[in-house]
């Protein structure tokens, strides 16, 4: 069900990007997505993988925003230098 892309669409550079190369990359990308979004055992069409990647990236952006917000609130009452030892200890242990 994956789309067949005509060879002539390969842009830039002399190297021709094969269909197999593209679908191999799509499969690798699919493997990165969390299980909840795509059943990795099934063969999923490329468009679906691209769509799920897009929404996954957007949700990661939201997480970063929320965590940054939380961290900025914490830093207004605490300060980084006193927390530094605790942070490094907990992260490198």
């Amino acid at each position: 069900m994956s789309s067949r892309r005509p060879r002539s669409r390969a842009s830039g550079g002399a190297s021709r990007i094969s269909d197999e190369q593209i679908s191999d990359l799509v499969a690798k990308l699919q493997a990165l997505l969390p299980e909840a979004r795509l059943r990795s055992s099934d063969r999923v069409p490329s468009a679906r993988v691209l769509q799920e990647t897009c929404s996954y990236i957007r949700s990661l952006h939201r997480e970063v925003d929320d965590l940054s917000d939380r961290l900025s609130e914490l830093l207004s009452t605490s300060d980084v230098s006193t927390a530094q030892a605790a942070i490094i200890r907990s992260l490198l242990m």
């Binding site: 789309s3 892309r5 900025s72 914490l74 207004s76 300060d79 992260l91 490198l92």
Partner: protein
């Protein structure tokens, strides 16, 4: 993971620099503070990644820390040409479909159009990917970006938890020994 440690180091340095002047930091509005922390996190991630992908340069360029104005101009003019070409193709495709009438679009065409649509959407969420990039490079860029974004989320979460823990330690009335016992039992390495 070496990348996470590098990210953490950059993040701590950046946050220390921003919060060193405690008066100025607390004088910032809530929105300014949030933006500052988010910017620190993004710059820390981009700097830790280095030159192996396109998105770190795009982040750093947006943050105003690179001076590659020349390459930006060239890239943006190429972008305009690509966008113009895309619009031309779309218009041509639309009128052809209207003329065809009874001729149904083949499933291959529909699939191809959908992939193109999704590809364009993907370019919008990855920094620097809206420049002329072939499909394969875009997919590799997406993989790279996802992996490092996940690491950024993980580091930010741990940093927040650690800052929160240290302020609890500081403000609590429990004896230090009891708290240390609690810390050891909770799993830190996930």
């Amino acid at each position: 993971m070496a990348f996470k440690q590098e990210l953490l180091k950059n993040l701590i340095l950046s946050l220390r620099a921003r919060t060193a002047d405690a008066c100025r930091f607390s004088a910032m509005s809530l929105q300014e503070r949030k933006r500052a922390v988010k910017a620190s996190a993004d710059v820390a991630m981009a700097t830790a990644r280095g030159g192996g992908a396109r998105w770190p340069k795009a982040i750093l360029a947006a943050a105003g820390t690179t001076s590659s104005n020349q390459s930006c101009k060239v890239r943006s003019s190429r972008c305009r040409r690509v966008v113009r070409r895309c619009f031309r193709e779309k218009r041509r495709g639309g009128s052809a479909a209207a003329l065809a009438g009874s001729a149904a679009a083949s499933s291959v065409d529909v699939a191809r159009r959908l992939v193109r649509k999704r590809t364009m959407a993907l370019r919008k969420v990855i920094p620097g990917a809206d420049a002329v990039m072939d499909e394969a490079s875009l997919l590799r860029e997406a993989m790279d970006y996802v992996v490092h974004l996940r690491a950024q989320v993980d580091v930010l979460r741990r940093v927040s938890e650690a800052v929160q823990r240290s302020s609890l330690l500081r403000d609590s009335v429990w004896p230090q020994s009891a708290l240390r016992g609690k810390e050891d039992s909770s799993s830190m390495r996930q």
